[in-house]
């Protein structure tokens, strides 16, 4: 919890009202984003993302599994978030559980699309190996290392970076498997397929403070929020998911306005993130 004096509160609120935030940003400016890929060697893909003092790590582990009967031609993705006690003393023991669960759910809603699997940010049909028999299961584990607000956006960016860092081994399926039998597979150690992340959306959280909304709020600014929405937007400007934080109600027209602002911000964020990711991968290859 952030404990602020009345003066500090007024300072933050007044700054936002005048489009000049405490750290000299404008309302719709992100903090500098720093991406590092391949931070966990044993994972299939991983990335760390820093936005100011907020730091998160995402890792992707691919395992062979069996597709569900409802979607035999699709793989499965599971997203878990863990809040490390290093980020805040409140996360010690079971303290971070509630926040972890909330972040996991929000990420799933923003990235995995509807129940039919349509509109998923992560392309699940590319994970199918043998229809109805074998598919890749992606386990995306995220760790919050340090927190200074805007965790959801940072986690979304980290997952996007980790996925573009992910190589999925090529699989040889032995021919001649009949009927019900599970076909034998041979997993290549050398050949990897690059995971396509062009469709993965970015998540933009708009925090309402007073009459205005800001992006990339710090923890101090978040403590002054009356409400916040997180919108996930893909490259084509389409909404892939949205959740609202608790707090006060919003007028429907305000929500629609916030969505269009999020779309506007997303264009710059996607460009920024893409260049950061490719820079990070270039560094890694050196």
């Amino acid at each position: 919890m952030v404990g602020l004096s009345l003066g500090e509160k007024h300072f933050i609120q007044g700054g936002i009202a005048q489009d000049l935030r405490s750290d000299a940003r404008k309302r719709l400016t992100y903090r500098p984003i720093y991406v590092e890929t391949g931070v966990i060697p044993q994972a299939n893909g991983s990335a760390a993302v820093k936005m100011g003092a907020t730091e998160v790590i995402a890792s992707v582990k691919a395992e062979l599994g069996k597709p569900t009967s409802l979607h035999p031609d699709k793989g499965k993705v599971a997203i878990f978030v863990d809040c490390s006690p290093t980020a805040a003393p409140a996360f010690e023991g079971r303290g971070g559980e509630e926040l972890s669960a909330e972040l996991s759910t929000s990420l799933q809603q923003c990235l995995l699309g509807g129940k039919s699997g349509a509109g998923a940010g992560i392309d699940l049909s590319s994970l199918s190996v043998v229809e109805g028999k074998i598919c890749w299961d992606l386990y995306i584990d995220c760790l919050v290392v340090s927190t200074d607000g805007n965790l959801l956006d940072a986690l979304g960016a980290a997952i996007k970076a980790a996925l573009s860092n992910t190589g999925i081994p090529r699989v040889q399926v032995a021919a001649g498997a009949t009927g019900d039998e599970q076909p034998e597979v041979d997993i290549s150690d050398e050949e990897f397929l690059q995971f396509d992340t062009s469709g993965v959306p970015v998540i933009i959280t708009l925090t309402q403070v007073g009459k205005h909304y800001i992006v990339d709020a710090t923890a101090e600014e978040e403590s002054q929020m009356s409400s916040a929405i997180s919108v996930s937007v893909n490259r084509h400007g389409r909404i892939c998911g949205m959740t609202k934080r608790g707090g006060a109600g919003l007028d429907p027209s305000v929500i629609l306005d916030m969505i269009s602002v999020a779309k506007f911000v997303s264009e710059q964020l996607i460009i920024k993130l893409d260049s950061e990711i490719s820079a990070a991968e270039a560094r890694e290859e050196e």
Binding site: S69, L70, A78, E98, A101, E102, T105, Q109, L112, G113, G114, K115, S116, A118, G119, S227, I229, N234, R238, I239, C240, G241, M242, T243, K244, R245, G246, G247, A248, G249, L250, D251, P252, I255, L256, I259, S260, K263
Partner: protein, 258 residues
Amino acid sequence: MSGKGGSAPHPTTYSPSPQNQKRPKSLIFKDNVDWVRPDGRGFQHCRPAFLRTGAVNAASGSAYAEFGNTKVIVSVFGPRESKKAQMYSDIGRLNCNVSYTTFATPVRGQGADHKEFSSVLHKALEGAIILESFPKTTVDVFALVLESGGSDLPVVISCASLALADAGIRMYDLVTSVSVSCLGKNLVIDPIFEEENCQDGSLIIACMPSRNEVTQLTITGEWSTPKIHEAMQLCLDACAKLGMVMRSCLKETASSQE
């Protein structure tokens, strides 16, 4: 529900109910523009709602809601003493819990707490309750889904606000909630279980109809802005109508008590 559907409580038994019937139906939804909803409703028709307050005597307030096959009971306890471990708070606390019965779904489930719904319920109600009216104490809102027939969460939210009103908890307005499913090109309101299972996207709104404020909004799947606009309008209209039904339900109870 919990994502761990594979682990049955009785590993040496299995349920004989047919499981792979839904596949062919889902294809019908997509390809055919003129399909009929399984229960024969129009795309923009909600299921008839049956609402009743005072379902549980032991609670301070309670409500039962039945929307088609979706049946929900919500009990409200309190305001009562907060847990000992909690810090002093000069506004009241709201504690929500949603759980399912083991027979709520066609295949017998675990009957476990639904953490995700509990947190959404909390977020949806929080903005509507005047927490300042019961400082230091806690109001507990417990929901039990007796049967899951689709649109469970919106029904739970609406039913919970009715139960809160029944318990005499002060609120700015009733919270009503409605969802739409996006199936192919169509938007269908108040989807049933089968429709939800093959939806491409969903939009759930919880709002305070008289104040025209949205307390909770969740979207999944890929949407264009005009579609969101359309879906929201659809939901808000339905919410307003549901609000009137809920209001008349409360009035009925009040007049029968006199």
